[in-house]
């Protein structure tokens, strides 16, 4: 048809990433603020983050309920007013309480900055936690919980965290039906007064940052006094359960969920970048070994993946999949044999090249645009790290060799230490 050479790909090296450093300063009361100027549209992403996640809670659901109730009414606005106003200004917002951090992220057109800061102060520092709204939220949450407990993947991940972090630590314990009845406004007010404080807060702003932002931030947040109260951290200790294998019977399901993994190092550890790369080889991208073997070769599943995540006190790695129940044991066997392979056979040059290049591309995406930049900044900042973490990761992606992969697989994937959780009908 023509002389076009279609067999060889046209490949060029990817340039080194350049990550803009945020501008940082403090409000009059000392609250740290980070500005990341980026993007072409007149929009902003505004995040208020607090050390107010589950790790701080003394009852299950307390951190998430306090967080969800922030927009349910304040000293000056009813919950309906707050939500109507936020909608009126075209704001998209997410309240969230993760294992360590909690807070709110708002997305809006830059010219609304003043109104948004005013409403944010109401939400974050003047909530009233009305009882009627709380009761109705807890009823709804119980229903969502009941629906979620029908899904094998949710049962599996909850059980996995319990196995890995233990029944007594907020990272690990599972929520039960009775926990939904325990919440009351006094508890929420107490949790809020201890953890939603300027002492505990940081502000991350990205996008086309409105010129009056600094001044307005100081006006709305700079005069809130520090509390300087001492809060004791939970005395509960992180400790995995003894039993490594757990099966939950869930009659009538056509697929079984599998979660295999354990606690591990977090971002602060020097081996972490290497572990991220090892994880990619195993199950961290579409062309990973697990995807190739379990999905593309055998067709046992729609998807299988592995991931490594960091928490403040620890980290964890987990392999996740849902498979037809007759293939459950076969899949588990294959997962272990893929791990053994990584511990014994050098990864070939070609495969290393694919992983290196895939991850380099991912790093370009992690710093593309104002939203991605803010998220990447935050996920290093939370651990007391800065962009040098990402430069170390980028360097490791370029230089890691097959021997180091074997070494890491032997150090961090000891099969005897892995927890194995399955949920389904036998």
């Amino acid at each position: 048809m023509n002389s076009l050479q279609r067999v060889q790909p046209p490949v060029f090296p990817i340039e080194n990433i350049v990550i803009p450093d945020p501008i940082s300063f403090r409000l009059s009361n000392g609250v740290p603020v980070y500005f990341i100027e980026a993007g072409t549209e007149e929009i902003m992403r505004l995040e208020f983050t607090f050390r107010a996640g589950q790790a701080k809670e003394y009852l299950p659901l307390l951190a998430s309920t306090t967080n969800m109730m922030l927009s349910e009414g304040s000293q000056n606005y009813s919950s309906e007013d707050l939500n109507s106003l936020l909608d009126y200004y075209g704001v998209f917002y997410n309240l969230s309480a993760e294992k360590d951090q909690a807070g709110i992220v708002l997305f809006f057109l830059s010219n609304h900055i003043e109104k948004i800061l005013d409403l944010s102060r109401e939400i974050l520092f003047r909530p009233v936690f009305p009882e009627t709204e709380l009761n109705s939220l807890m009823k709804k949450r119980l229903q969502w919980y009941m629906v979620n407990r029908e899904k094998v993947q949710n049962l599996a991940i909850d059980q996995f965290f319990e196995a890995v972090f233990g029944k007594h630590h907020p990272y690990g314990y599972q929520v039960g039906e009775q926990d939904f009845e325990r919440m009351n406004p006094a508890l929420l007010l107490d949790f809020h007064s201890k953890y939603y404080t300027p002492d505990n807060m940081a502000v991350i702003i990205s996008g086309k940052i409105h010129e009056k932002t600094t001044e307005l931030l100081n006006y709305y947040f700079g005069d809130i006094p520090l509390k300087k109260i001492y809060t004791e951290d939970s005395v509960n200790i992180l400790k995995g359960e003894k039993r490594k294998k757990v099966h939950i019977n869930k009659p009538g399901t056509v697929q079984s969920a599998i979660r295999i993994g354990s606690s591990t190092i977090n971002k602060r550890h020097p081996d972490y970048p290497g572990l991220k790369i090892l994880d990619s080889v195993l199950g961290g991208y579409f062309g990973s070994r697990l995807m190739k073997n379990i999905r593309e070769e055998k067709g046992y599943t729609y998807g299988i993946s592995s991931s490594v995540s960091s928490l403040d006190l620890t980290g964890y790695k987990v392999i996740s999949t849902e498979v037809g129940k007759k293939n459950c044991q076969k899949t588990i066997d294959e997962i272990y044999s893929e791990i053994r392979l990584l511990q014994s056979v050098l990864v070939k040059k070609e495969e290393m090249a694919v992983v290196r290049n895939y991850m380099s591309g991912e790093m370009v995406r992690m710093f593309d645009g104002p939203f991605a930049l803010a998220e990447s900044f935050k996920s290093a900042w939370e651990f007391g790290l800065d962009n040098s973490y990402y430069y170390r990761l980028a360097e490791k992606i370029k230089t890691i060799d097959a021997d180091e992969i074997i070494e890491l697989a032997r150090t961090y994937y000891n099969i005897d230490e892995l927890y194995e959780v399955t949920v389904g009908s036998k």
Binding site: E15, S136, Q143, V355, E362
Partner: protein, 415 residues
Amino acid sequence: MINYSRFSLDNGLRVLLHEDKSTPLVALNILYDVGSRDEDPGMTGLAHLFEHLMYGGSVNIPEYDMPLQMVGGENNAFTNNDITNYYLTVPLENIETGFWLESDRMLGLDFSQKNLDTQKNVVIEEFNQRYLNQPYGDAILKLRPLAYKVHPYRWPTIGMDIAHIENTDLEQVKKFFFSHYAPNNAILSITGNITYDLAFNLTRKWFGPIEKRKVQFRSLPVEPAQKEEKTLTIEKDVPSTALYKVWHTGLRNSMDFYTLDLITDLLAGGESGRLYTKLVREKKLFSEINAYITSDIDPGLIIVQGKLMKNIDIRHAEEAVNEVIKGLQNRNGIKDEMEKVKNKFESSTVFSNTSILNKAVNLSFYELLGNPDLINQEVDAYRNVTQEMVIEATMSYFVPSNCSTLYYKSTRKDK
């Protein structure tokens, strides 16, 4: 304002280009004008199965994903009733690899039996995971044939019967490819950090040599106007009872689409939507409720779906939903609400257009609708909806004879 240029090749491939120098990436989106509506009723699910087969190797390239990962690229695809859409993003240095990959699989596939067998299994597991192994997962499988009697929208994209997937053979697959996958049945959008000249030259180089194909002529049965209310009750072991109500709409390409879209936003856009405020917050009949309009090209559906709180009678809940919808005919207080949902629509459009990938997907789809400038015009179209239009549309579309209702009842005692 999103600036773009258009050109087409002699083989019929239509191309749209939007330059955005603020990103280190380029996105390619290739839309094939084929969806589940183009399937034979005896062989449904093929368009979606095909999306999977497109990754199993093409004429000159044994595997799609590996070379893309090799240049730091990422890709995915989706299939719906109307289209099959493939997209990728890649660091700008390596955009040519994207052209190389996409053009080769348009040229032809490897058509291996092994790949077909594996992907059939993957799709069956996808069916199990999405529709059977989730509470309420099968509701949409029941709703479509209730609402549609003759139009192919009566089956879902995954297929009306999983046996159709199981029975597909290689001959059918080949025939499907050559009658739907063709330069003259595709729309390519290129967005991101790339110049017009480079985009034009690369498109001509890689897609230009692919010959035009004879594309299967589309002649779909028209769904006759629904005459009377339809209902279906099913009972399942789920935590709570759910209510689904759907109404037929007009064409995607009609002004009514924006009116109905705005109506669903008044009903359920954000936490301050009417259904949420009245039925979740105030009356506590539902634990969650949502309303949306499908973006189907042929007449689609407005869908309202909600999960009931414990011990609420489903007829009572349904009455309350009808009451809220009827309230849209009342002029009082609606003005501020309309301004609110219009602002929200505008800001969501601005946010969506910060992503080169969204821009690429949207440009291709709007070109298929016949007007790529919709990417700049939809906010105005939505802003131009008036109170009169809302009242009129509420009265003409939300009538019982245009409605199908699914009562998805929980068999649990303490429901």
